[in-house]
């Protein structure tokens, strides 16, 4: 199981800065960040090395933040790497709500992070196909 921190933020200057300052103060590392923009507001999604601590720190500062379970799967970093995973998800009719990725070792290893209604089911099909799922600790030690 892996978690990201999702933060509700108004679409205004200085909103990311507020969040990063809180995390920096707590010495929390951001592995990946993505923002869903919806006009007036957005949801900032953060993959942190200490998600629980990060979420608590944000909440203490009055930020609307929550831990959200995600699926993180280790994939290669070559043309077609993501396609293989996408094909498995398609075969099992798994709908991806939101996704992002980052490279761990260029041309060798990257991580695909996504949100689904049922993370357990998605993890199982990927595991069965031989993929390595990253739980909180492994993810943060990358």
């Amino acid at each position: 199981m892996a978690f990201q921190v999702s933060v509700f933020a108004e679409n205004k200057p200085g909103k990311i800065e507020k969040i990063t300052s809180i995390l920096a103060k707590q010495n929390i590392n951001i592995r990946a960040i993505t923002i869903n923009d919806s006009g007036d507001y957005g949801i900032i999604k953060l993959l942190l090395d200490r998600p629980e601590d990060g979420c608590t720190a944000l909440k203490e500062e009055g930020v609307a933040a929550t831990l959200k379970e995600i699926v993180a799967v280790k994939i290669g970093d070559k043309p077609g790497s993501l396609h293989k995973v996408a094909a498995i998800l398609k075969d099992h009719a798994i709908n991806v709500d939101d996704a992002y990725g980052f490279t761990v070792k260029p041309h060798e290893e990257s991580v695909f992070v996504f949100q689904v209604d049922n993370p357990k089911a998605a993890e199982k099909v990927l595991k069965d196909a031989g993929y390595q799922l990253l739980a909180d600790k492994e993810l943060y030690l990358l």
């Binding site: 999702s6 509700f8 919806s38 507001y41 949801i43 909440k59 009055g62 959200k68």
Partner: protein
């Protein structure tokens, strides 16, 4: 031109005698209603002691809240079988203020509206397009019945759908429109945008009501449209439109004193002010069988114009409404209290209790924008969920106040807290 010359030009002396006679009848009727029975008892009111019109000041006021408290029929003075209609305005806590009418009340109301229309020069040759909302709101049906009684052809167009309004106006050669001032400005803009010259249209008059507006706006409407615009005043508690209307001199609205006893009071002390001074309008309905109402505090600020009008009508005039003594907002002709919005927001645990209502006028149309904070403990990180909350809020508000607001969700703590002098309403509209 008069609809009922005898009553419209009645001497003040005879008018006052008629008022006193009708007041007695109304008081007899009210004393049979559960609400007034209780109020008269509690205040030790002996209605037989009301010997002159001045004595009316000894009677207690009736407020909008009293109407809510007597929901649904605590003020009804006739048996249910005699009631033929009800109208209602939206309620603060879900309960509306309801007004009932007998067949005679509806007929008399129509008669009063016909009187108003004739005062503006309307005749049976006119084609009357009613662009006010029909339904529970009194603006639509109120003018409708009066215009029919006068003999106009009525187009019950209701509000909205501007292109169809213009089509109707052209195809049926509309001569009078009944419309809110803000919608009228929008309408004339759309007419021009469609490449139509408003001056070449058949429209001659507009009756503007349901919203406060300035003399400058009237002038603007008249100039842009090439019409005469008349100020109309009414409120559902006193029937609806037709309470006061301008004559062709367009200098204040004649308030029909054979139906209403008019007082202007100091809104803070309740003291009756001498004619000509500005204060809150208080009306006693002395011509309604189903629901007579005594000393109703309209919360509207105006002044009485006792000077004679060149039109010959002896009924006093009231000045255009200057504002409100409470926090009621009028948005696109709809009465809205911030507390109504608050009540809806309170029902949503996903949002906090702080809110801000921002009113703007875009292309002459009122826009309501509500800012509310997301309650952080119920945030689950899902954008779809947030959109659902916004839509549910929008639907709930629309159901209650019939206005489609724009909802903006803010981060927790971004609005001023509810204690103290938090500014809940920001009205950027200019009259």
């Amino acid at each position: 031109m008069y609809w009922n010359k005898d009553i419209e030009t009645i001497s003040r002396k005879d008018l006052e005698a008629l008022q006193l006679k009708k007041l007695h009848k109304a008081l007899q009727a009210t004393s049979t209603t559960p609400f007034y029975k209780k109020v008269f008892e509690e205040n030790h009111i002996n209605i037989d002691a009301i010997k002159t019109l001045e004595h009316i000041k000894d009677l207690p006021f009736t407020s909008k809240n009293d109407l809510r408290l007597s929901y649904p029929d605590g003020m009804v003075a006739v048996p249910r079988k005699e009631i033929v209609r009800m109208h209602a305005s939206s309620g603060t806590t879900g309960k509306s203020t309801v007004i009932f009418y007998t067949a005679k009340d509806i007929k008399d109301w129509a008669d009063l509206v016909a009187r108003c229309m004739v005062a503006t020069g309307a005749t049976p040759d006119d084609v009357f397009q009613n662009m006010m909302g029909y339904g529970l709101f009194t603006g639509g049906l109120g003018l409708h019945y009066g215009a029919e009684l006068l003999g106009c052809m009525v187009i019950p167009a209701a509000s909205g759908n501007t292109l169809r309004q213009i089509q109707l106006m052209q195809d049926f050669e509309t001569t009078i429109i009944h419309i809110t001032p803000s919608y009228c400005l929008h309408l004339v803009e759309v007419i021009r945008a469609e490449g139509i010259d408003p001056y070449a249209m058949t429209v001659k008059k507009a009756y503007l009501g349901a919203e406060p507006y300035s003399e400058a706006t009237r002038k603007k409407i008249e100039e842009q449209f090439g019409i005469d615009a008349y100020n109309s005043y009414g409120l559902s508690e006193m029937n609806g439109p037709g309470v006061a209307f301008e004559c062709t001199y367009k200098n204040g609205m004649h308030i029909w004193e054979d139906y209403y006893i008019v007082e202007i009071i100091n809104p803070d002390t309740g003291e009756v002010l001498p004619p000509g001074e500005e204060g809150e309008l208080v009306l006693t309905h002395i011509n309604r069988e189903a629901m007579p109402i005594i000393r109703y505090r309209t919360r509207d600020l105006t002044r009485l114009i006792p000077e004679p009008c060149p039109c010959g009508r002896t009924h006093y005039r009231i000045d255009r409404i200057k504002g409100r003594t409470d926090d009621m907002l009028i948005v696109s002709g709809v009465n809205v209290f911030p507390s109504q919005i608050e009540t809806v927001l309170m029902k949503f645990p996903e949002v906090g209790n702080n809110y801000q209502i921002i009113l703007d006028r875009e292309n002459n149309l009122d826009r309501m924008h509500i800012k509310v904070e997301l309650y952080s403990k119920l945030f689950h990180g899902d954008i779809k969920e947030i959109e659902r909350i916004k839509n549910r809020l929008k639907e709930a508000l629309k159901a209650l106040i019939t206005i489609n607001p724009r909802i903006e969700l803010l981060e927790p703590g971004s609005l001023p807290p509810s204690e103290g002098k938090a500014k809940r309403v920001i009205d950027n509209r200019t009259l």
